[in-house]
Symmetry: C2
Subunit: 256 residues, 2 copies
DNA sequence: CGCCTTGAATAAGTCTGCTTTTTGGGCCTA
DNA sequence: TAGGCCCAAAAAGCAGACTTATTCAAGGCG
């Protein structure tokens, strides 16, 4: 039995933070996007009082925000100097928050490309591991999900297909038994929904993609790791090709 | 020319934070390790005043620490309730700080296993990409590094071999042109140095490993992506086998 | 008896003014 | 010109008052 796919399985909503409210969140959001968006260039200097004035909040709020930004590698504070903006090379690019900011910024395409390459590397290996580690139920659920995806794809129900797609990849990552792979799920969900929101997906998924999802599920169920891996590689290549056409038409070379 | 390998190339020290001082760092460190180490179990509740007393610091320090911990997914604060410890499933397991804490905790073996699997997935793909993207100098440097590794391995100079090993993998990740891959370098360095510190490495690297590093470098230089990938896969399998013998002897099943 | 309103208790969130510590840069001297 | 000294600037940290949201329970109503 496939449990609660529609209603966002396993508690966590797919990709909708509860719209964090409060001063802290507001200021963090603004500064984070400003740095990701390049409005605050590396090397430039702020100071706390300036930020207190600019956002009309108290020092405590500003200081708490700065601590968080520092832990993300966005800034560095130095006594007698102020708050230094650090270069992109020291950002924690795996922080889900950072990913979200970057996907919302001008660097969106570069971010999409990075994550898509990461998926291309990780998901096939996850499928391989899943084939040796998935229990009976997990494997059955995957087969069932692939079947539902096929139906949704044929019916042209994009919304549903997207949800199922995200869920399918989440389950494979979970079945791999590697906690770090599972955490990548959040990033992948961001990419898939982002791709959907920006209308970067074919309205009817390719026949082959539908077939490959089924292939992955079946191979995992039959503990054929190498077959699962290969099918996932093909899926990734297809996804990668679709993305490539995007960032080529977006006029961005993609090569960071 | 290979520039500054010994003296920690590219500025960043390999794995030695400048021993963060200050109250904030001290309290953060203590709470972070306590949560990672399972001393504070998920669901249990703290409150700010209690922490103020326990660490004998002011509210601002505690609050800044809590904001950082919250951004790592370690805690959640709720009005009228206090500070809730969140389960490991919501931690930002890619945060370098979190990795360090986990490597220092009882879950060290699970962490090593996760990262090693991640390497196994990512590095071969990085080698593949590097073969198409690396410029002439990068490729030459890799070949030179592999040669130095061979020499250091044969000479039994562990320290030097370790440094070169880390540098080699860093360069491959960098040459892949993917910023996210490059950031994984920090994690990998933690693993390699950790493995060394805990005497989990053969004193004389296997002949085959030395050969494989050279193979990877050469394949990249000749733009033979598939060959580079395959050689890296073999390297990873070897590293994985070495690690496996470790966590099996450590009595930990490894399956999280 | 169960449900809804209401109000008090509680703990985080925010603000403000203050002291302490660090450090970059100017200045002075040898 | 080099080295050391001193000062001011800015973050780091402290203390306490006040604000706001949330929970929980008591009491009223159907």
């Amino acid at each position: 039995m496939i449990s609660g796919v529609e209603s966002s399985a396993s508690g966590a909503p797919v990709s909708a933070g509860p719209v964090e409210t409060g001063l802290h969140a507001r200021v963090l959001e603004h500064l984070g996007t400003a740095i990701c968006g390049g409005e605050l260039t590396p090397g430039s200097v702020l100071n706390i009082d300036e930020l207190v004035d600019r956002y009309a909040v108290s020092r405590s709020v500003v200081r708490e925000v700065l601590r968080v930004l520092a832990s993300m590698g966005f800034i560095e504070t130095r006594r007698r100097v102020g708050v230094l903006i650090r270069p992109a090379s020291s950002w924690n690019v795996f922080d889900p928050q950072v990913i979200r900011w970057r996907l919302a910024s001008a660097g969106r395409m570069a971010q999409l490309r990075s994550i898509t390459e990461l998926r291309t590397a990780v998901e096939p290996h996850a499928a391989l591991l899943a084939a040796t580690r998935a229990d009976h139920d997990e494997a059955s659920d995957l087969v069932g999900l692939a079947a539902k995806m096929w139906a949704a794809g044929k019916a042209g129900d994009e919304e549903r297909f997207l949800r199922l797609d995200i869920e399918f990849h989440r389950r494979v990552l979970r079945a791999s038994g590697n906690e770090m792979f599972l955490r990548l799920q959040d990033l992948i969900a961001e990419v898939l929904t982002g791709r959907h929101k920006h209308h970067l997906m074919p309205h009817h998924p390719h026949e082959q993609a539908l077939q490959l999802h089924a292939e992955v599920a079946q191979a995992i169920q039959r503990h054929d790791g190498e077959r699962a891996r290969r099918a996932m590689v093909e899926l990734m290549e297809q996804a990668f090709d679709e993305m490539r056409s995007l960032w080529e038409q977006a006029g961005e070379p993609g090569q960071g």
